[in-house]
Amino acid sequence: MLQFLQHLKVVLLSIPFSIIISVPIGFFISGKPKLAKIIIYICSILMTIPSLALFGIMVVVLAPVKLGIGITPAILAIMMYSLLPIIRNTYAALNSVSPRMIEAAKGIGLTGQQILFRIKLPLSIPVIMAGVRNAIVLGVSVATYASLVGAGGLGYFIFSGIGRANFLMVLSGALVVSALGIGINMLLMKVEEWLTPRGLKITPVSEERIE
């Protein structure tokens, strides 16, 4: 139980930082395709690096400041991993608002800022949320390695269990973390739905007609 909460703690500490950094970056690059391409490429490289490797690098990098063990490398690793989904989705969402809609908004007299907050943002929320959800699920996955650097978490059961050949430990660790992953995913999908402005959820009437 303790580890379960620890696991959650690790994830929940890193994600908000990630969002705070990524969403504004997403906004910032939404008008600059060339810059966006570079940034997104860097982030995708970060994500390509195997999580264990990333952890290792974090440990090494933080060692000189004596932060190589414990929660810090874990949080940093999760943050780096979750940059891509959130930035990419934010960028894509803001850019996919149809230019005609923006034109209409300008036409009825909204200022740039109003357009950003009243139109672009609400329309982008579903996609941004999907990115955050993706990031959180990844975070849960990556946080499993946290125990290796002394940050605790459900990974403890798995790694120690393997080491001690304690099958029950391994099994419970694996099952709980899987359940956590799937559970959080479903929970967040509901949140996503709840946050989606009602008008966007209506599916156009399509008839399967027998002609």
Binding site: T48, G56, V59, A63, A174, N185
Partner: protein, 215 residues
């Protein structure tokens, strides 16, 4: 000790680990692609849309499962060593391939398929000449995703005795020797980036010309 020194001193062992890592990767990916695509073809058949939808739901949920969980579960059933590692990698990278391939094949406009059937193509001809080419971007993206995850998970497979570069990272963490950690980490990162870049290029080359154009 510096990384360079470490590497040159232990060249052979490290090379052996790289080799193991690549074997874990390539063997599992090979089977994953073949079986994954076969499952996707079966699932995307128009006459069995519900099967397709079930498979999509299952794989979508399964993508939320952390990689080590799968490794751990396979360990419980099969034990330790390279074979269980390959099996775990096989199952784990199966998910993105099946998901993408099924989704891609199912998303082709039914009218296009109807036109193909109407002018006299057999089901198999439709699969190879129409469905696959049209879904190839999505399928390639799935393979690329699976491959990248695979390299990453192969790193963790070291923990169940699968060998590979993950061993270096684990040892380094235990012994608290940074240069060992970094050797392992940087090499795995390098392999992953190379594989990903290669597949990204393949993704672009495999996309049929006609689909890249627009008015």
């Amino acid at each position: 000790m510096s990384i360079v020194a470490y590497v040159s001193e232990n060249r052979e062992q490290i090379l052996a680990l790289v080799g193991q890592h690549l074997i874990l990767f390539s063997v599992s990916i090979f089977f994953t692609v073949i079986i994954g695509l076969a499952v996707a073809i079966a699932a995307s058949n128009e006459k069995r849309r519900d099967l397709g939808r079930i498979i999509l739901t299952i794989t979508a949920a399964a993508q939320a499962v952390p990689s080590i969980a799968v490794v751990a579960l396979v360990f419980l059933i099969v034990g330790i060593g390279m074979r269980p590692a390959i099996i775990a990698l096989f199952f784990y990278s199966l998910v993105p391939i099946v998901f993408n391939a099924t989704s891609g094949l199912m998303s082709i406009d039914t009218k296009t398929i109807e036109a193909a059937r109407g002018i006299g193509l057999t089901d198999r001809q439709i699969l190879w000449n129409i469905k696959f080419p049209m879904a190839s971007p999505v399928i390639m993206a799935g393979i690329r995703s699976a491959a990248t995850i695979n390299v990453g998970t192969a790193t963790v497979a070291a923990v169940i005795g699968g060998g590979g570069l993950g061993d270096l990272i684990f040892i380094g963490l235990k012994l608290n020797k940074n240069y060992i950690i970094l050797t392992g980490a940087l090499l795995t990162a390098l392999i992953a980036i190379i594989v990903d870049t290669f597949l990204a290029i393949m993704e672009r080359r495999v996309t049929p010309k006609g689909l890249k154009l627009g008015r």
